[in-house]
């Protein structure tokens, strides 16, 4: 029997011990009228059979050339990362509730917290949230708890934040009377122009600042941060952790730094994998640590005074605080943080920097070459980071379709989320691509536009 070790003899002796005559008897407390008639799904497959099925489906989707980012980035992942992360001891362990029997995971997570706090230049990090989008929602909820001076539950959120992040944040916080108020962006720069910010914005709880923003454009984070702080609001940074190897981190924005920083950890060792599992990360200033959702690992000592690690500040969490918890979050992305920790250890800051820089240069190369074609132009005039929005004369859907036939994922169509950007497509080229790949893209593009 698949995955069931019982022999006929054992079943008999277990039933005898119980005093039941059949396994069926053990379900005798379930009211008869509720009993199901059995399932309609197909009979089970052997591993051999399911292997054939899944190999076929994986082959069907193939391994195209990916030139799109928009929240998920195809970076090289050292082979060691997943060979270690899928070791049974990490892969098949539970949340480290019994600390003494979970020091592997716990120490790793403490190291993870250190790495993420250092990358964002913030004081403390938690041990992960679901993903970047839900992390932003949690950051909004946290800001409302943390900013006791503000009563408005009003959060300013630029339209340059990933639109799905905004939708997710809305879905999650709306039932608590929190208002997400959009800030429009500058049509030339593709950024939030600090000069356009109101001098008298009224009470607001927090300002969200993306860096780079969804368009890949770099925001004037210092001015934005100072403006929010000058109005008593907190600053929530939404950042790409790979970009943090090159860009000023939230902890250093403006004169005081951001208060909370979140983002999606996917660039740190998670394969694209159709959009998940990735992981959300969250860091904050020390003073807000008790408002942070999610698990947090602390260093402590054992009875002999030896260093050890355990889950700490559990009084914030749902299993202790129940309806008063900072969040309902429980299981989240442990395995992905394991991979990310190994990834960051192997890459080091220099490795991240090189991957980031090469991705950036590659994206520039492609967008320059495309913009040199007739009927194509760059949309924004501000500096970008490894993502670029281009305008095309030809319909974006046609370009995407024709490129798909060349086994290329061509870019992200901006129209659905930004009607004013109809005809625009966003491209991203990571370090996994060579100049030859870029030229191949451009050649194909020329052919289909001809």
């Amino acid at each position: 029997m698949p995955f069931i070790p019982h022999t006929e003899e054992e079943i008999k002796s277990m039933l005898d011990a119980i005093g039941a005559s059949s396994i069926e008897d053990l379900f005798d407390e379930i009211p008869a009228e509720l009993r199901a008639e059995g399932l309609k799904i197909e009979p089970g497959m052997s591993e051999l059979e399911i292997s054939r099925l899944m190999n076929g489906r994986a082959a069907e989707d193939g391994t195209p050339g990916v030139f799109v980012g928009a929240g998920a980035y195809e970076h090289h992942i050292p082979a060691a990362v997943w060979e270690i992360a899928t070791r049974g001891e990490y892969y098949s362990a539970y949340t480290p509730y019994q600390a003494e029997a979970s020091q592997g995971t716990l120490q790793l997570l403490y190291e993870f917290q250190t790495m993420i706090a250092n990358l964002t230049a913030m004081d403390v990090s938690n041990a992960s949230l679901y993903d970047g989008a839900s992390a932003l929602a949690e950051a909004v909820l946290m800001a409302v708890r943390a900013n006791r001076k503000s009563k408005s539950k009003r959060i300013l959120i630029p339209r340059t934040v990933n639109p799905v992040y905004r939708q997710v944040a809305h879905a999650i916080v709306r039932n608590q009377g929190i208002v997400l108020e959009e800030l429009d962006y500058d049509r030339e720069g593709g950024h939030i122009d600090p000069a356009s910010l109101p001098a008298e914005p009224g009470d607001f709880t927090a300002l969200v600042i993306p860096q780079p923003n969804f368009f890949g454009v770099l925001e004037e984070v210092d001015a934005l941060t100072n403006w929010a702080h000058s109005h008593g609001a907190l600053v929530i940074g939404v950042v790409n952790p790979m970009a943090m190897a090159m860009l000023a981190p939230p902890g250093e924005w403006g004169s005081e730094g951001a208060d909370i920083a979140v983002g999606d950890g996917q660039p740190l060792g998670a394969p694209l994998s159709s959009g998940g599992p990735y992981f959300g990360f969250m860091t904050c200033r020390q003073q807000h640590v008790r408002q942070m959702p999610g698990r947090i690992i602390g260093k402590t000592v054992d009875l002999d005074g030896k260093t050890g690690f355990s889950l700490t500040l559990q009084a914030r969490e749902q299993h202790i605080r129940r309806s008063k918890a900072t969040s309902n979050i429980c299981t989240n992305q442990g395995l992905l943080t394991t991979a990310a920790t190994i990834f960051m250890s192997i890459m080091g800051a220099e490795g991240l920097e090189q991957a980031a820089a090469t991705s950036h240069a590659n994206t520039n190369e492609l967008s320059d070459k495309l913009a040199a074609q007739s009927g194509v132009s760059k949309v924004f005039n501000r500096p970008v980071f490894h993502e670029s929005v281009l305008k095309f004369d030809k319909p974006v859907a046609d370009i995407q379709g024709a490129m798909a036939e060349q086994n290329i994922v061509a870019g992200y169509d901006m129209a659905a989320e930004y009607p004013e950007l109809a005809g625009c497509m966003m491209v991203c080229v990571t370090e996994t691509k060579t100049s030859a790949d870029i030229d191949n893209y451009v050649d194909n593009f020329k052919r289909i536009s001809a």
Binding site: L39, M45, Y97, T114, A248, P277, T300, V301, K306, R322
Partner: protein, 482 residues
Amino acid sequence: MLIFERSQAGRTNGVQLNNLDSNTADIPDNLRRKKRAILPEVSEMQAVRHYTGLSQKNFSIDTNFYPLGSCTMKYNPRGSNKLAMLPGFLARHPHAPESMSQGFLASMYDLQEILKDVTGMKEVSLTPMAGAQGEFAGVAMIRAYHDANNDDARTEIIVPDAAHGTNPATAVMCGYKVKEIPTMDNGDVDIEALKEAVGPQTAGIMLTNPSTVGVFERKIKEIAKIVHDAGGLLYYDGANLNAILGKVKPGDMGFDVIHMNLHKTFSTPHGGGGPGAGPVGVSERLIPFLPVPMVAKEGDNYRWLTEKDRPQTIGRLSAFAGNAGILMRAYIYAKMLGRDGMVRVSEFSTLNANYMMVKLKEAGFEMAYPERRATHEFILTLKKEAKETGAIAMDFAKRLLDYGHHAPTTYFPLLVPECFLIEPTETEDMATLDSFIEVMVKIREEAHTDAEMVKGAPYTMPVKRLDDVKAARELDLKWVAE
């Protein structure tokens, strides 16, 4: 030793560097990072050795019996992992066009269909990323439903006192007040208390069945009627779905909405804390509110269902479509089980639990609900042992580690004093169960002869018992160079 303590300034991993002098001159100075972040500077081998070594400090299903009640630690098939990590699946960008995603979409569609069948619900959305997010989706749908009916007096969610902490926390996240109702001595919900609790303010009730005390809620039909009659909806917390697979369907019990913890029932890896997957299933009336995206089949073609198709959706809960790779593993597992294998999950997890319960009872341990059948799990209380010897449930738990067994869930649910919630799962063999029982008897003997020893346990782990109070009081959450 921390990885940072193995670090040496200037060390790099050449083979992971691209050796390219990429031009980044266009990034303005004021937006650049000034000082490199402090990350480890170790060789690939140092990293491999460090994290291989650390891994060996963990208990896990691949190394130990791990009877954590409610958490369902059973064998995670390696086949699921290998197939979900096929290059074709890992390489798929979430924004790839549907024409390049049919293999993936077909799998997700099939999984939706399988989950509908096993739960008896009308439609399923796979997007929630764990049980708690599934709960959120579920309660948010209940709210959306009442809102759509302009029924805004419904401000309360009823939750049994034995419920998992995520239940009340979720209700609050959805803007509800929580009303607790008691559990009776026989483990069932107190129907009279429920009758008193319901009213026009009732948005719904959140139940786990089998409940978190390890028994099947027999009056579920009556409960459903009471809540429905009051205009509320029923939410099913599917953490214990493995106990009833193929035996009863939540849809048939009268539930309006359900989440499933695929990382439990469908044996995707717990990964030291996730990722999970918490799909939600609904009855007819909640279909419009399901979170998007979902997958539809049209002819031979699969496509995404979005806000456009479902204008009343509660929205999106993740940047893409949830923990896709985990859903893949669940799908593969479900396909290997198939029709008969599903039923065997509930049958053999129940057999194992009842066997352990009977044997432990015979050995003189006290059960919280001695009159009841165990479901896939059961609760034992060590209050007598605690009183007689001073060794409490936590001490028993720690001492179990010395004998190579992970401790069961302790002190949950909170209403049973000094409790162990024990869930062996169907993938453990009889010899392992017997060994656990033997060890429990032995620890009790130890507690009687040398309670101090038991209270000092564990002794064979990488560390002795840890000081949690110090951890919380003198917060040390990251390494800082001296």
